[in-house]
């Protein structure tokens, strides 16, 4: 029972708890906030896993930009709480069962069937140094140039889409 392990367990606990909170809280705003917390915890994991850059992106883009956007929309639409619906009574239990089975399968897979390298040894080389950022930057524009460009197009398309969907045209009322 090492420090890391304890730390991991605590964080894991927090992550799961926040996730569940997101899942269960009736109010959308709370859900969003729980999710922010969850992302934050995950960011910590990234750091533990020696991925500072990702952790940073996680916090800024995810927890920051995206979730804020969510909150905006929630507030804007004022749909934080939906009236209780009675449709699909069997949906919840069924979903629960399926989810449980899925989790069980995953655990079984990972524990019993396929065990990746046991320990994470500690490579001194690139722990949270600027080096790693530089390397990744270089990689992004060499090996991963194409995906990068594609992503840019993707974002462009998304943007167009958003505009197309929301922009009110002249003479169009709804």
């Amino acid at each position: 029972m090492t420090i890391d392990l304890i730390l991991f367990l605590i964080l894991a606990l927090v992550a799961v708890a926040t996730a569940l909170g997101m899942l269960l809280s009736r109010n959308a705003v709370y859900s969003a906030l729980f999710l922010v917390l969850n992302f934050a915890t995950v960011a910590v994991f990234y750091i533990l896993l020696a991925a500072p850059f990702i952790a940073m992106v996680q916090v800024t883009v995810y927890a920051g930009a995206i979730m804020v956007l969510f909150l905006f929309v929630i507030m804007l639409l004022g749909t934080d709480v939906l009236p209780p619906g009675k449709a699909l009574p069997w949906q919840r239990p069924l979903a629960g069962v399926l989810a449980f089975i899925l989790a069980a399968e995953a655990v079984y897979l990972l524990v019993a069937r396929a065990a990746p390298a046991e320990e994470i040894f500690r490579p001194e080389a690139f722990v949270n140094t600027m080096e790693s950022l530089r390397v990744m930057g270089r990689m992004l524009f060499n090996e991963y140039l194409l995906p990068f460009e594609v992503t840019s197009i993707l974002l462009l398309v998304a943007m167009i889409g958003a505009i197309v969907l929301t922009l009110k045209e002249k003479g169009e009322q709804n």
Binding site: D4, L5, A15, V16, A19, L23, A32, N38, F39, V42, F45, Y46, L49, A50, A51, F53, I54, Q58, V61, Y62, I66, L69, F70, V73, L76, L77, T79, L82, P83, G85, R92, A95, G96, A99, F100, L102, A103, A106, V107, L110, V111, P116, A117, E119, I120, F121, F126, V135, M136, M139, E143, Y144, P147, L154, A158, G161, A162, L165, T166, N174
Partner: protein, 104 residues
């Protein structure tokens, strides 16, 4: 030294919760958040796997993948939220259970 498996299992659990959220919530925003949670879980798994492997290139490629996933997520969010807003504008409700005029 925390075994990678733990991370993967955690991610699996998070993933499942996300999936569950998609299944049981009626608010498209929350459903959407759950999807984000799923992606997030996937990312965690990625980084963990990347870390598990000594080769730094591999490690980096994993992380870069995560980077792309986040970008894509952002793109999806843009479209998704626009869609939801638009729908709210036209029918003043976003309850997905009320969107079943197409069926059968």
């Amino acid at each position: 030294m925390v075994p990678v498996n733990y991370y993967i299992i955690l991610s699996a659990v998070l993933f499942t919760i996300g999936a569950l959220g998609v299944l049981i919530r009626r608010n498209p925003l929350i459903i959407f958040m759950s999807v984000e949670l799923m992606l997030n879980a996937a990312n965690l798994a990625f980084v963990a796997f990347a870390r598990a492997n000594g080769d730094s290139n591999v490690a980096y490629s994993g992380q870069i993948f995560v980077f792309f996933v986040i970008a894509v997520a952002a793109a999806e969010v843009a479209v998704g939220l626009a869609l939801i807003v638009q729908i709210f504008k036209s029918r003043h409700s976003i309850n997905v259970d009320e969107m079943n005029s197409l069926k059968g």
